[in-house]
Each structure stands twice: as C-alpha cells, then as structure tokens.
C-alpha cells in the first residue's frame, strides 16, 4: 500500500498550506499527486426569501477558493508534482466521497477544529460521517494552535494502536509502505482493565506477555522493512491510554484501524477510533478494513 495521491479537503481556516507542507515528506515514499477539495456548503448559497439562489455568493466563494488553490498549486507544480482541484457546491461528505472515487485517492486529509469561531467549520458529525462512509484511509489533521506539539512531519514517528482488528492489521501494511518516510513506529496494545479484574497477578502478567509477544512479531515485520519499531502494552480505557502512549512516545501521529465489530458498513467504525479522531490533540490516521468484494 502506497500513498501516491492524496485528497486535501479544506475550508482554509482550519487546514492551510502549512499542513500540506508538513505532508510533503510523503514524497520520499510515493506521493506524487495532490488534489485540493473545497466544498461550499449548500446552506451558504441556498435560496433565501426575497433573494432566490445566491449565485453571486457562490461565484464569490468559488473565486476565493480558486485564488488560494492556484497559489498552492503553483508551489507544488514547480516541484514537479501533479495537482488537481475541485470546488463544488454540495454536502461535504458526499462530495468528498465522490471526489475520492473519481480520483481513486489513497488518502483523505481533513481538518478537525474545535475552538472559537473555527468550531463550526467542520462539525464533529461531518468528520464522523466521513470516517464511517470512507473506504479510503482518512487523516484527521489537528490545528497547530491546539496541539501544543510539533507536527513538522506527522509521519515521522507514528503510534500504531493495535487491537488485532482487520483495520489495525491493515494499518501495519500501510505504515510498512511508508518506510522511506517513517523513522520509528511505536506499537501499543491497550488491555481492557475490566477484563483483568478478579484474575490473579499471574493471569494478568500472562495476558500482558501474550500481547507483548504478538506486538513483537509485528515489530519484526517493521524492522525487516528498515523501520525502527517498539512495542508497548498499556492497561485501562483505550481512549485515554492511547493518548497517554502517544505522549510518552513523543509520537507525531496516532494510527488506528477502524474496528470491524460488525461485518458491514454501518458498524465498521468502533467508538475508540472515532473518539480519538475527534478528541485527541494528535493528528489521527484511520485505516478502514479492506472493502469486501461485492
């Protein structure tokens, strides 16, 4: 699995060119094509009583987006990259899915903002809905001002949370494909505290050892590909512990598989990936399981 083409979904306020620049390290792996997507929400240009459809507003928003994209595109074109863009009126998720399919993109990058005026730019539900519907990996980028961590190169030191779901195992393959960009990967498995209650110290140690051994096997896969890898087992609430592990490991990115608890679309995204994508201070990469052949 390689990232050759990424879709950069932006409304500009929450995801700017600095974010894109930080992703250009993926060129060391395979990135060669960036597609900008700006969706003008229908509500902003919809019919108003006494005004009708606000065509002037649509033109204004389109041109404002176009001017920004031209400027960004010029920088990328001059580096020999391929660039495309979509400026469309519609629903965010539907238009992003449509563009992803049309472009056959390998990664969707979207911003999550939740402070002050930025709060409503992408509602949590838009990101959630995209995560639920996309069969393409989604990187939820976090605004620099709210992270308090340096994310010059998000893929430099990912923390990969493993729960043995198909999505998380696919994430191993995905990160392996980025061996020229990733310097070190930390693998973490969070053992559920509730499951350990009432069991003996020996049984708890045994559980830890088993998880650790399984993680070490994956570490060996990474090491064979030339990526330094370390295994960690944490205990407790997965949301809190994954965040803690990211901090402990000075990670630049959290990577999670979408847990396929039920077999099909509706439930393929478990609550931990969604919560971390929306609440963590770290950029979060969600890898869905392989799409079943229809």
């Amino acid at each position: 699995m390689e990232i050759k083409k990424l879709l950069f979904v932006t409304k500009f306020e929450e995801l700017g060119f600095d974010a894109l620049r930080s992703l250009l390290s993926l060129r060391k792996s395979a990135l060669e094509h960036v597609v900008f997507v700006n969706v003008i929400e229908r509500d902003r240009v919809a019919m108003r009583r006494g005004k009708g459809y606000q065509k002037d507003e649509e033109v204004r928003l389109r041109e404002a987006a176009n001017i920004r994209f031209i400027d960004w595109a010029e920088t990328l074109f001059e580096q020999g990259m391929e660039v495309g863009c979509y400026i469309v009126v519609g629903g965010l998720v539907a238009e992003v899915i449509k563009a992803t399919q049309k472009e056959d993109a390998d990664l969707i990058v979207i911003g999550r903002s939740h402070k002050g005026v930025l709060e409503h730019l992408y509602s949590g539900s838009d990101v959630t809905e995209l995560l639920r519907r996309a069969w393409t990996p989604v990187l939820v980028y976090k605004h620099l001002s709210e992270t308090a961590i340096s994310v010059d190169e998000p893929f430099e030191r990912p923390l990969l949370a493993i729960d043995w779901s198909p999505g998380s195992l696919r994430a191993v393959e995905y990160i392996n494909g980025l061996k020229d960009t990733v310097q070190e990967v930390h693998l973490v498995h969070v053992a559920d505290e509730d499951r350990l209650k009432g069991t003996s110290a020996m049984a708890i140690q045994k559980t830890r050892k088993q998880a650790r051994n399984k993680l070490e096997e994956i570490c060996e896969e990474f090491e064979a590909a030339g990526i330094k890898a370390r295994a960690h087992v944490y205990v407790g609430d997965p949301n809190a512990e994954i965040e803690r592990a990211a901090k402990d490991c000075q990670a630049t990115l959290i990577v999670l598989g979408s847990s396929a608890k039920a077999a099909w679309v509706e439930k393929f995204l478990g609550s931990t990936p969604r919560k971390i994508a929306e609440e963590s201070i770290y950029p979060t990469l969600l890898i869905p399981p392989e799409k079943e052949k229809e």
Binding site: N66, I70, A73, E74, F77, Q79, G80, V83, G84
Partner: protein, 130 residues
C-alpha cells in the same frame, strides 16, 4: 468544413465562454472537463486546436501537455494554454519533470493567463489556425 477546437477546462463557465467565442467565429467547439477525458477526445476527434487549462481534476494540463508533446501521433496538435496558473510556473513545472527523467519538450506557443477578453481569444485562435 469548419475547424474543430477542443476546450479542456473543468470550469463550466470558462468552457461556455470559450465555446461561445468559437461558435461566433465559425469553429466547431468540443468540450472536455479534465485532462483524462481531454486526451480521449483528442485521440477520437483529432481536433485542429486544443485550448487547455492547467489546474484540473484527474489529470492536469501540465501532464496532458507533456503527454501530447511526447506522443508521436499527437505532438503536432496545436495548443493554446488558457489558465490562472502563471506561465512561469508552467515552465518551471515542465523543467522539474524533465529533471526527474522526463523528455525535453517545447514551450507552448501561446500561453494566456485568465481572464481574457473574447476578442483577444478569437484573435489568438485565428492566428494559430491560420
């Protein structure tokens, strides 16, 4: 028979503008909304001239121009670039692609930066098609 001119641009307003200019000046306009469908149409319709945008979905004008200029059967297709992307950028991008191992290709004869007046476009088309 009137000459065929293909407009490759993702912006429907720009396509409408170019098509109107072409029709008013007695040409047969064809349309494509991105580089990929533009290339298919060039192969199928063999237009006399292509008016090509640069920043488009699926395949940009940078790559399509390069593909046309390096394909034996297509390298003589006349091209006018009509784009919001600066000519300087277009040339630098081609230079970068050449440095990455691509073939050396000629500069576009005509490069117009958007927006253009209808008279200017009509005049340039006339000049290129003779």
């Amino acid at each position: 028979m009137s000459k065929k001119v293909l407009v490759v641009d993702d912006d429907p307003d720009v396509r409408l503008f170019s098509v109107t200019v072409l029709e008013e000046n007695g040409y047969t306009p064809l349309e494509a909304e991105d580089g990929e469908s533009g290339l298919k149409m060039i192969k199928a319709e063999k237009p006399d001239l292509v008016i090509l945008d640069v920043l488009m979905p699926r395949q940009s004008g940078v790559r399509l121009y390069r593909e046309l200029k390096t394909a034996k059967a297509l390298k003589d297709v006349k091209i006018i670039i009509l784009s919001g992307i600066a000519k300087k950028t277009f040339l630098r991008s081609q230079k970068a692609l050449t440095e990455f191992g691509g073939a050396q290709i000629p500069e576009p004869e005509i490069y117009l930066e958007k927006p253009v007046e209808p008279e200017e476009l009509a005049e340039v088309i006339k000049k290129v098609l003779g």
